[in-house]
Amino acid sequence: MNARLDIADAVDAANPVAADRAFIDIAGAAKTFVGQDGGAVVALEGVDLKIRRGEFVSIVGPSGCGKSTLLMLVSGLVEPTGGTIRIAGAPVTGPYTDLGFVFQTDLLLDWRSVLGNILLQCDMRGIDARKHETRAQELVNQVGLKGFESKRPFELSGGMRQRVAICRALLLDPPMLLMDEPFGALDALTREQMQIDLQTMWQRSQKTVMFVTHSISEAVFLSDRVIVMTPRPGKIRAILDVDLPRPRDLHIHETPGFSKIVHEIRVMFQDMGVIHR
């Protein structure tokens, strides 16, 4: 498709473990929570998914279908009740830390400045934060928060806060990104800008990205593949390839190829009764 993937393939070929081209390998993953009343909540059931190194995969599905849970399983923060997760061939048994994780809420610390919140990465990992101040400042500029670096979170809007959370995940340039509705709190315009910026960043850096969103068009715009999930208990309903040329710009929304995939996904949600006609 492009040079980026060719490089990734070459890397995988040199590595026998990754020879099947699965960087993230989710096999039969299931998660059942025990609710407060002792009742079981089946959040995920039999999820099989292989994600290539450097691939951008989006997950769409109705609220409560286990999208966040899937990211938690992949990151090793939550243990599956069935199946296995492998990253780069190794089974995930505890927190997998070679990643950047953007949670559904921004989780900024009230007592730290914007820059301090981004540098939390260093403090938590026991790395010298001073060495990464320049990089943090660059990220702040990139997401349009120049001049806000010493502000406290409560002085920021919801969208600005979420952008800080994204910078925090990107600080140490991790090879893998888990993003749980990172643009949910953004206004439509900023959201489109962030989509473009994320695509640019991803194309440059070859990160493997799992991206959860409620927006079908956002998923199609950004992804190599879109995973469509069923209502709870969450299963994979379909995996759609998005063979649209990159880099994509916003006008791709108006092309037939784009509309076709969006339409296909929407029909699936209608069939599942998630969207009513």
Partner: protein, 260 residues
């Protein structure tokens, strides 16, 4: 910064104005309704009595301040570590919480006579009552604060490879400070109540003792002078904690101001 300073000055202005107004109204009431001075002396009379008795008032204040501060500081020193232990260990919680609640259910004032029997008439029983009475709110509010952390924040930290120790020191503890200070403010008022109670029950020193003896002599002017001193001391203590709060957790204080 400039804005904050101006608002301090404004606070001080309004506080002074309200105090002056209250004194004027007090004085007018006494004059207009001709209230006998053994029931409600006027402000000038109270001031004169206070000025005349300044030496005993200062001396007795010293004892009360000592009892309040000692009781309060010991309570903080015991309550905060205890709250931490309770939050970190479910076993500790199961063992420590029931006896704590049981002790809390006894009216602390009822224990004052017992403390006099145990510790005599000195400052110790007052410290003990002050300690007991302000201990519980500090424990409870510290526990609430430590538990208030968003579980997702802990997950985020774990995804960054943070050790439990780091999560505790850098996330849980700072996050608990606003609630802890809430407890300290409640406790600061209670500590004064505790020390005074101790002084009422059995004592030959402290402002509580001075109040009882002024009342015995029907010296209402002195009684009021002591009450004024007491309220000034208690207010000063409260604001001391507020200042400490501003210094230690400015992020929380300014956030609160923002919400107004």
């Amino acid at each position: 910064m400039a804005q904050r300073k101006r608002s301090w000055a404004r606070d001080a202005f309004w506080m002074t104005l309200s105090v002056v107004l209250m004194i004027i109204i007090w004085d007018l009431c006494v004059r207009i309704f001709k209230i006998p001075s053994h029931l409600l002396p006027g402000p000038i009379e109270v001031y004169k009595s206070g000025a005349k008795n300044i030496v005993p008032i200062v001396a007795h204040s010293g004892w009360t301040i000592l009892a309040v501060l000692a009781g309060f500081i010991i309570a903080v020193a015991v309550a905060v570590p205890l709250a931490i232990v309770i939050v970190l260990s479910p076993t500790a919680e199961r063992m420590l919480y029931p006896p704590m609640v049981a002790i809390q259910s006894i009216p602390k004032i009822a224990l004052a006579p017992l403390f006099v029997v145990w510790f005599g008439f000195g400052v110790v029983p007052k410290v003990a009552v002050a300690f007991l009475i302000c201990f519980f709110p500090i424990v409870v509010d510290t526990i609430v604060g430590l538990r208030s952390i968003d579980p997702a924040l802990i997950q985020l930290a774990r995804s960054m490879g943070a050790t439990p120790r780091k999560i505790f020191l850098k996330l849980r503890l700072p996050g608990a400070l606003p609630s802890l200070f809430g407890g300290l403010k409640v406790a600061s008022a209670l500590a004064v109540v505790g020390a005074l109670t101790g002084e009422f029950i059995g004592s030959d020193s402290g402002l509580g003792y001075l109040l009882i003896s002024a009342s015995g002599m029907l010296n209402t002017a002195l009684l009021f002078a002591v009450l004024v001193v007491l309220s000034v001391l208690a207010t000063a203590f409260f604001y001391l904690i507020e200042v400490l709060e501003r210094v230690l957790i400015p992020w929380h204080v300014s956030q609160r101001a923002h919400a107004h």
